[in-house]
Symmetry: C2
Subunit: 306 residues, 2 copies
């Protein structure tokens, strides 16, 4: 084990600490705290954990958080109607729709995100924010890639002039991550499920962002010795044999024994032997995503008030 | 000389031929041809050549082309006012603002492109079209990268599964080119002026798109033997010694003798010895850009009518 561990919890706390005076100044000026609406549709146990963390963290930081729940039988019209109300509510500065939406909405899901007022789109999923980001203009950047940039900057890891490899091309992480890294003068390669010789391509990276959602898929061969590895994956494993094969003999087995499950990333534990720096799961990218949601909401509130 | 030459003129003609029945059908249904407005501000000799080609080609194909000229002293308000008129004109389906706009407009230039009705944005520069393209959704793609995809497809050159290298990260070519190639399952590396070891990175590409605007900059060392090379650069050289050093002993010297200048691309002539396929300049990407403007205008007209 040689890789330096990048502490997402500490960096997230630093970001929150910097946001506090901004929140207080906004409150003093506007007579109300910045307001964040979180919309949850149906019941998804994984979502509940994320939503709970977002509500708790945002509330502690001084935001007014409104949790709006719709039943899983909610129609597209129900959801669009709620968004219209939130768009028109002057006490709401940021709107977050918790993913995934129920599969029954199908292609309608995109219409839901498109309906959010771009000035309240703190998740950065509206095409106009995606476009502004791609053009290198001020925009709400999606919270996970924006948080990764903060983590690298605040950990003293250079971006400009590096070769960066992004594993995964999702609209939420991979593509905006590539846009942000290009804007910061990295030479960026975007890989995906159709990339041949994926490990060899990945191993060209001074910086590797793993965002594919396949537990422990990124093994040592993917990583150039000394590279910085950012692990965006979050999968909950419940299969004992699988956990044993990955973490046998480490303290994480004890965690598994206690809880009956273990949250793991896309990066195999063996990578710690070759990487120069590495984000853990949990405690790496996750806390930063929530911190950036806070920052984006404060930024939205300030912009709307001015 | 071994590279197969990809004939942009012939492919552009094939695209125009396919657009003709669409234009006729639209005219029969709507009682008018699709309408394209081209806005030119000030006097720029290079722009005049492009504009002349666009007007001629679009008119011959059966579009109603309206050329709107403003003096170089035009203010931002003048330009925004004209765009409002064109947005509201039901006989205009596509609006193109010829770049570059006068430097006196400064950052206001972006507001001009932002003001275009996204449904008439046939150049694909509005952030909402940029965002939809980045999200892999239907959108007006900028004409040059869209034309390059057509050229590759119609020349039987595979995109999926290849490694593609895009040299240049402009909003008009490099970035949307990368988005289109990723959407087509290429593994894409975006390079730029801050990329170290640029030639070596470029030489990893099965497909290299050169869009940096530096004449003959891309030499043999940039190209893996057998790779496909697309040359987006267009620079007019007037320096005899420079032209002699690049093209001495070839028929292009005669062209230079006749005209006193020569249009050259980003790709050095020596690349023809190593590349598997190559687009010429002129006669490669340029005609495709104009053909895609035609296609985007017809698509805009059909979408607005339905």
């Amino acid at each position: 084990m040689s890789a330096r561990i990048l502490n997402g919890v500490a960096v997230a706390e630093a970001i929150r600490a910097e946001a506090r005076p901004r929140i207080q100044a906004f409150q003093a000026r506007a007579g109300r705290p910045p307001g964040l609406a979180i919309v949850v549709v149906g019941d998804n146990p994984a979502s509940e954990i994320y939503v709970g963390n977002k509500v708790k963290s945002s509330g502690e930081a001084g935001l007014a958080v409104r949790l709006e729940r719709l039943p899983s039988a909610a129609t597209l019209d129900d959801l669009l109607g709620l968004i219209r109300l939130l768009n028109g509510d002057r006490t709401i500065d940021g709107i977050l729709i918790q993913s995934p939406l129920p599969a029954s909405l199908g292609a309608g899901s995109q219409r839901v995100f498109d309906a959010i007022d771009p000035g309240k789109d703190v998740d950065g999923f509206h095409p106009i924010n995606v476009g502004r980001l791609a053009q290198g203009r001020p925009a709400f950047a999606p919270c996970t890639p924006a948080g990764i940039i903060e983590l690298l900057d605040r950990s003293g890891i250079a971006i400009a002039g590096t070769r960066a490899v992004v594993l995964g091309r999702s609209a939420i992480v991979g593509r905006p991550m590539a846009a942000l890294l290009v804007a910061r003068d990295a030479t960026v390669t975007i890989c995906h499920s159709k990339t041949p010789e994926l490990a060899a391509v990945s191993a060209t990276g001074d910086l590797v962002i793993a965002a594919i959602g396949r537990p422990a898929f990124v093994t040592r061969e993917f990583i150039k010795p000394g590279a910085t590895v950012v692990d965006v994956g979050i999968t909950r494993l419940t299969d004992r044999a699988r956990v044993q094969s990955l973490f046998g003999g480490t303290s994480r087995m004890e965690t598994f024994q206690k809880r009956g499950s273990l949250v793991v990333g896309d990066v195999h534990p063996g990578v710690a032997d070759v990487a120069g720096a590495l984000t853990p799961v949990p405690g790496g990218v996750g806390p930063l995503t929530i911190a950036m949601l806070l920052v984006n909401t404060v930024t939205a509130a300030e912009a709307r008030a001015s």
